[in-house]
């Protein structure tokens, strides 16, 4: 199992394989004296991650402070603080590192004393997997349950229940089974995906690296092989989120948004929304010192530039436009209290989320949770290491996702304003209804309100006429003029619609009818969006044009008849289509072997054989202005 590099090995091969490893973070927890530190010392020792000089120090420390009668005391390897070694207890979480030929590991060795629960939670918050130790002589203790509950609450989904010190109980299967049953009964109320119980002796090394001959009745894996292979990847189809940490402005020409992708994936061209403002834009580039990135996945720290000059700053979240995060000023959350001074409902604390600090108060403790029974208890306050469900009221809206859906978007810490201590941590359940309602009312926008923002009255300019009559030329000029005037416009013509929306349609009469119906519907949505929409289609049949007109509100449909005669259009034959039609190479060509029905009452008529296209465009813009479409 060891990935120790030995003399004669090929360094290049070793490095190549080492680089490809992934990383697993786990913690050890459980009650005092269940052997957590010993277990880690054992893993480090057996994985040969202890250097010679460390072994030397360990030897002398074991004689001085050891609890193993002068034998090497592995616990002393991880208990790094002087106070810990003297008292023989673990006060704070220690991080240790080792690797095997399959994986790299970061281990958080956490304290068992109830008094230091907050340090255990610190270690658990970044772990993928938990090893919960139980002393085989003691069975499931209150601390076992407390730590299990905190692991579950913090979102750890896979746990090993390491029933340790099996050597002292003569590797009794009955003892093991009884504890296993007891634990599984309790854990039914928790949110673990998998629970694996193992009979261990960390001190003697049973079932650590390989299966022990002392437990022939145990048919599961040994600990290290399990850690090497456990699959902790979550099906991560959650949408893209990047809290903006810092705005990067080296000069006036560059504006980048720096942050860590906390879920999903982003690529240049992706449509995103800035929260809370709701402004939409696209990702222009993912800028990096070694060259722009093609994409960025979860956990990568990136700098994004955006297509538009939108306002975004620290505290905002850039999210997938298709699935924005929620926003609320009133939340329900589970809180673990971590300060000696008890929680005070009504007092203002500073809530810090991933990238934002907001003054907030706990308006109401709904209930405390008994960590032993998981029962809900009534109460007014939370004391050190107590857990409760609370309502919070924030002075600003917070952009979030529920913690169970997104750890980074649903977590926060509470800071005392005076002492600056971290006094509590929270996991958001959901927004309280009050704030959701406000949210919905704010979203009630319609065509009128959109038009108001845009400062224009949306309408549909319907250009009809023979092929080559100059419809698109005029329409494009009109759009350009309107754009110069600062109006929001869009041109739909055969080229951009026939290649996409209507690419399944041909040129039979039935298809021409359907073609116009769809264009009419799509154009109507554009008008509803507040856009001055220019439609440029031959649209030879009066009935179809009429039916589009009827679906629009009064004054929204403006028919522009480009009346250029057939002879002129055919003479221009820009696309060479008339020639082909005359030769019979194109069937159903309007004006040749398919009829064109002239409009009876068009709002505007233009003959481009008599009026230059520029002049025609000017006339049309003037018409819009006079009729009040341009605001």
């Amino acid at each position: 199992m060891s990935n120790v590099f030995k003399d004669g090995d090929d360094i290049h091969e070793y490095l190549a394989s080492h680089e490809q490893k992934d990383m697993l973070r786990f913690l050890t927890c459980g009650s005092v004296d269940d052997g957590k530190s010993t277990l880690i010392g054992r893993l480090l020792h057996d994985a040969q991650s202890i250097f010679d000089d460390q072994l030397e120090t360990l030897g002398s420390d074991s004689k001085k402070f050891g609890t193993q009668g002068g034998e090497i005391d592995f616990a002393l390897l991880v208990d790094g603080l002087a106070a810990e070694r003297e008292q023989g207890i673990t006060i704070d979480v220690a991080y240790r590192f080792f690797s095997t030929d399959k994986r790299k590991f970061i281990v958080a060795d956490t304290p068992g004393h109830e008094q230091y629960t907050r340090n255990m939670a610190t270690g658990a918050s970044t772990a993928d997997v938990a090893i919960i130790l139980i002393d085989a002589r003691q069975g499931v203790l209150p601390q076992t349950r407390r730590h299990s509950f905190i692991c579950s609450l913090l979102g750890i989904r896979h746990v090993v229940v390491a029933i340790n010190k099996m050597d002292i109980v003569d590797f009794s299967e009955a003892k093991f089974r009884a504890i296993e049953e007891d634990y599984r009964e309790f854990a039914k109320q928790l949110d673990f995906e998998s629970i694996t119980c193992m009979p261990l002796s960390a001190l003697k090394g049973d079932n650590i690296l390989t299966k022990s001959s002392n437990t022939p009745w145990y048919d599961g894996a040994a600990l290290l092989p399990w850690l090497e292979t456990v699959d902790v990847t979550r099906k991560d189809e959650r949408p893209f989120r990047m809290p903006v940490q810092w705005v990067n402005r080296p000069n006036l020409d560059f504006r980048g948004f720096a942050g860590t992708v906390v879920s999903g994936r982003v690529e240049p061209g992706d449509e995103v929304v800035i929260l809370p403002s709701g402004k939409r834009t696209k990702v222009k580039a993912i800028v990096a010192r070694d060259g722009d990135l093609a994409f960025a996945d979860k956990n990568r720290a990136v700098t994004l530039t955006l297509e538009d000059e939108v306002d975004a700053s620290r505290g905002d979240v850039i999210a997938a436009a298709t699935a924005p995060a929620e926003q609320a000023g009133q939340l329900q959350a589970k809180i673990i209290w971590m300060d000696d001074e008890e929680m005070l409902p009504g007092r203002q604390y500073i809530l810090k989320s991933n990238n934002k600090m907001i003054p907030a108060q706990i308006t109401d403790l709904k209930h405390r949770i008994d960590v032993n029974t998981l029962e809900h208890l009534s109460g007014k306050t939370l004391k050190l290491n107590e857990i409760g469900e609370c309502n919070l009221s924030l002075t600003q809206r917070l952009v979030f996702d529920p913690y169970t859906e997104n750890r980074s978007m649903g977590s926060f810490i509470l800071i005392d304003r005076l002492t600056n201590s971290t006094v509590g941590v929270g996991m958001i359940d959901y927004a309280l209804r009050r704030s959701k309602n406000v949210h919905w009312q704010a979203l009630e926008v319609n065509k009128e309100s959109r038009q108001k923002i845009l400062g224009q009255k949306s309408c549909m300019l319907w250009f009809t006429g023979l092929s080559g009559s100059g419809k698109s030329t005029v329409a494009n000029l009109v759009e350009k003029r309107l754009h110069d005037l600062g109006r929001l416009t869009y041109v739909m013509d055969g080229d951009n619609v026939r290649h996409g929306l209507n690419r399944d349609l041909g040129f039979t009469d039935a298809d021409r009818v359907e073609n116009i119906r769809r264009v009419g519907e799509a154009g109507k949505l554009m008008v509803d969006a507040g856009v001055i929409t220019l439609v440029s289609f031959i649209s030879p049949f009066e009935t179809e044009r009429q039916s589009v007109r009827e679906r629009m509100d009064d004054g929204e449909f403006i028919e522009v008849f480009i009346s250029t005669p057939l002879e002129v259009a055919e003479q221009r034959d820009v696309k060479g289509l008339y020639a082909k039609a005359r030769k019979g190479e194109i069937k159903n060509f309007t004006g040749i072997d398919s009829p064109y029905e002239e409009p009876t009452n068009p709002e505007i008529t233009v003959d481009t054989s008599e009026v230059a296209a520029e002049k025609a465009a000017e006339m049309i813009v003037e018409y819009l202005d006079q009729k009040g479409y341009l605001g």
Binding site: K6, E13, L15, D92, R96, S125, R314, M338, S408, S421
Partner: protein, 373 residues
Amino acid sequence: MTTAETLLKRAERLSETSGLSLTTISRKLLNDGKGLARIKNGGGMTEKTLQQATERLDALEVAGTPRAEGLLSPETMTHLDRLEAEAIHIMREVVAEVENPVMLYSIGKDSAVMLHLALKAFYPSKPPFPLLHVDTTYKFRQMIEFRDALPERLGVELRVWKNEDGIKQGVNPFTHGSAVHTDIMKTQALKQALSHYKFDAAFGGARRDEEKSRAKERIFSFRTADHRWDPKNQRPELWNIYNTRTAPGESTRVFPISNWTELDVWQYIARENIDMVPLYFAGVRPVVERDGTLIMVDDDRMPLHPGEKPMEKMVRFRTLGCYPLTGAVESSADTLPKIIEEMLLSRSSERQGRVIDHDQSASMEKKKQEGYF
């Protein structure tokens, strides 16, 4: 096996592990897409070309996951990618929330990695904080040269602080011993500098795998107004939400590469091609042996004991500090892969070369409580 055959075998293995085609690797090594194929068919090449190709292959292999040119983004993040992202996140958080941050810069390899991470974190801006070097006046000369070239080379702001009181009193490691020298010229000097410039957060390159008390330290580690660390009362630190708040006068030490191991640091240096002080690489240097430790005679301030004569030895340094207090190791490792190989084989933790924390196992914790970084 001939050198050419070895090269070919290694290139083929790299192709398998990295997914790069042999043609691409060939182009990288020999500036010729068909070069490797020609070797395979028995073609020869000059010794010099072969040597150059081998060196380039060294670099490619250490980099592990060679990246496609132009658009980068490996499909999945390796542990180095994750460690890099974590460090960048931490640095940005400090810059966004703290008024007057500084990066402690010791000129060593961990500092080199930190500086590189800062350049990446804020690109295209320059790191929006100065580097601070606490100069004990007994650093290796090559370290000082390397340091002084930084501002021009990378466009970063550098501040150097010396304890002028200590200099006046003539404090030096030879007559005052390592403990007094380190305390006055390093610990006290650092406190002076932080107070003088009113820095409220200082980045340090400490790693949790270095030493037991560091294994216990938070990434954001709080210091009282007199720079003390209270190990028994650290702030909870959950997820990657960091409490950066301090009262006036108090400050934070921030350790962005807390979760890196020594091997991670070296591999990252190789992958990112980070410039290092030459002292890390083996070279012939004048040394004397004292109490089993090889000390380099870097200048004439070092008094020689009677009968002591500097010997020219092939040595390098695993860690860099004050030259009279930093032990050299005999070594022929003059490339990154060789250094990594030697480190893996030595089985002796890196701080052993430092004289300062040899005496007692809790000495680092004590120093930290007293304000040593």
